[in-house]
Symmetry: C2
Subunit: 359 residues, 2 copies
DNA sequence: GATTAGCACTTAAAGCGTTTGAGTGCTAAA
DNA sequence: TTTAGCACTCAAACGCTTTAAGTGCTAATC
């Protein structure tokens, strides 16, 4: 999907850039007359028309109809993003806003991601997305039981992705302390670091034997609980913020088109799929039909993943029309995701963050 | 906000009902000619016109313009819902679908509510909402600590609404077992059943003294953790499903109007406000401007709360245009919410559900 | 050979008057 | 009280014209 356009004359580049810049900010097709007054070089409209015709032939521009100006094609945007676009200079105000967030030292990654996405959405005026990943191959690394009052106890499970999950187990009858700690020992012996596929019926009956008559009936619901914990969010969580902003762009004034996109945003799985198959540690830009979800053909998706080691633990980005302020969006996503990445990396070096800022 | 229309002649009722039924299913204004052929009684179009003029004078009907038919006003819908509407007879297929859900014995209330809402949305073709409430005045009833590996431990908090929350505490230094159990005891002594407002600085330093030097630095992050746990979701959670369905109704083809509604759905707090101030144990129907959110003036909100004792623990419902199939929606919401309510009530009687279905 | 002025051509969008048709309100008769 | 009949209203559809922005092409110019 990578295109090489090395054979573009300097002048064509200038013209293409001017067209795209003008179209991004104005939304209207751009004509030759406008360009005569908005190019660093001074050439006549006729020359510009000739150049534009050639750019169109190359697939970089499109014409809504014969008597309209030119509009960038998807390839045009792609070329712009790859080799034309000038880096966006963030204003002090913007940097301030972004820094305020990353300095706020929230603790949970998903909270950070969500507020980062929200901020990004506000600043760029597109819809923000925050992805919170989850290791697909989780196992429980440690079980604990904890009496909780009459007739129930709490099962605490630590998982290999360093999360803690709990589940209340109601048993109608009394369980002695010994039975409970035997149960804990059995769980730790048989189910720790065990993949779900390895849990067979015979293993379960072995556990039931090992745990003794008193608590045998608890094994089954517990195994089910483990199953739920591991399978929950196997695909990760994807949240959006500011979907209503899309409606301000004329490209979504077609209700049918917008409905499709809204559906994809609600269903999540298509976008989740794109995000989870993306490249790590770099900005991902999917312009129009570059993503395979046909209902997103008129949308652009820009995001960057956050990794921990070589695991993708999250992503933030925006979604908007193809006519997007790429320069600003990419700069913002980049800055913010890098900072969050850095926070992640630092956290690893300083695992005692919490005790540190006690004072 | 309650209106009495006892002085409506039987014929007027017939006409009004026919108009509303026709408009709900067809979406178009209803004229006198159509009614001559779709009324149980046979009267001329002129008579119908006279009656319609009077119904309009009473505020039950409206005319988009002089030469159009009549459309129900909000009061018209209100009257319809209160005293005109015929009960909807659910088909076997629908009852089956609903029963399949309530028999599936999911465990967590929010899961049940969400799938119920989803099903309701599918069946009625409007947008579903699921509300998971939260006791506003939660306190922690029990603390447990649990060593978790090197340099960190798990703080388990049971709250008065019978939830369990956990928080990983990273302390860079080693903490002895004695210190940890002393910490646990101190927490249970000072913070159990304590309202957040009662946690003063002097209480904190008292705790720091009581827990001893070794673990004193942990008190502060823990208190912060307690604060987070209690404040989290103080308002409850509100989820929507099938927002894109709204776009199929012509009343939302005005993009500006829909954008407003979409914004309210995303922001959630307005709708949350309505839901949390609603009447318990009955179907709540907010037609158009009956709710105070002006961006929802063209929408109707129908839901019913789920209670536990006298606490509202959830709600399910739908949101759609004022021109809604009230009869069907109300029947569906009612059936489903009652069944969920029953599940709640039964669960209370049989707390050992889980051990029961082990076989 | 590249550039440009000039001009005929194209086309969506806007404007405007007409027609259509559904539906009404009112009057007068039943 | 009901109804037939009729004049009236108005949005929507239709068709026609105008407008304006912008093009492609040709021939002249640099």
């Amino acid at each position: 999907m990578s295109f090489e356009f090395k054979d573009l004359s300097e002048r064509k580049k200038l013209i293409l850039q001017a067209i795209i810049d003008a179209h991004i900010s104005g939304g209207e097709p751009v004509g030759s007359k406008y360009l005569t007054q908005n190019l660093p070089i001074s050439i006549s409209s006729a020359t510009i028309r000739n150049e534009m015709a050639e750019l169109e032939e190359m697939g970089l521009l499109e014409q809504p109809h014969t008597s309209a100006g030119r509009v960038p094609s998807e390839y045009g945007y792609r070329f712009y993003v790859n080799s034309l676009m000038k880096g966006y200079e963030m204003t002090m105000k913007e940097i301030d806003e972004l820094n305020r967030l990353t300095k706020s030292k929230q603790e949970k990654l998903d909270h950070i991601l969500e507020s980062a996405a929200k901020l990004m959405g506000n600043m760029t005026n597109y819809t923000a997305l925050a992805f919170k990943g989850n290791t697909p191959t989780t196992v429980v690394t440690q079980f604990k039981t904890m009496r909780m009052g009459v007739g129930k106890f709490l099962l605490v499970m630590m998982t290999s992705d360093e999360n803690v999950q709990t589940k209340v187990i109601n048993h109608g009858f009394e369980v002695t302390d010994e039975a409970l700690s035997r149960l804990e020992a059995v769980l730790n012996k048989y189910l720790c670091n065990v993949d779900l596929e390895q849990v067979t019926l015979s293993l379960i009956s072995e556990m039931e034997r090992a745990v003794g008559l008193e608590a045998a009936s608890l094994i089954n619901p517990i195994v089910k609980g483990v199953y739920d914990v591991i399978n929950q969010n196997a695909m990760g969580e994807l949240k959006f913020q500011g979907v209503d902003r899309l409606l301000q762009y004329p490209e979504f004034s077609d209700i049918g088109r917008f409905r499709g996109l809204l559906g994809a945003i609600e269903k999540k799985d298509d976008i989740l799929d794109i995000v989870s198959h993306s490249k790590k540690d770099e900005i991902n830009v999917y312009i129009g039909s570059e993503n395979s979800v046909d209902v997103m053909n008129n949308s652009t998706l820009i995001f960057r993943t956050i990794t921990q080691g070589d695991k993708v633990v999250g992503a933030i980005g925006v979604i908007g029309p193809c006519r997007m302020d790429y320069s600003k969006v990419i700069a913002t996503v980049d800055y913010l995701s890098r900072n969050i990445q850095q926070m992640m990396d630092n956290d690893k070096l300083l695992p005692d963050k919490e005790s540190e800022d006690k004072k």
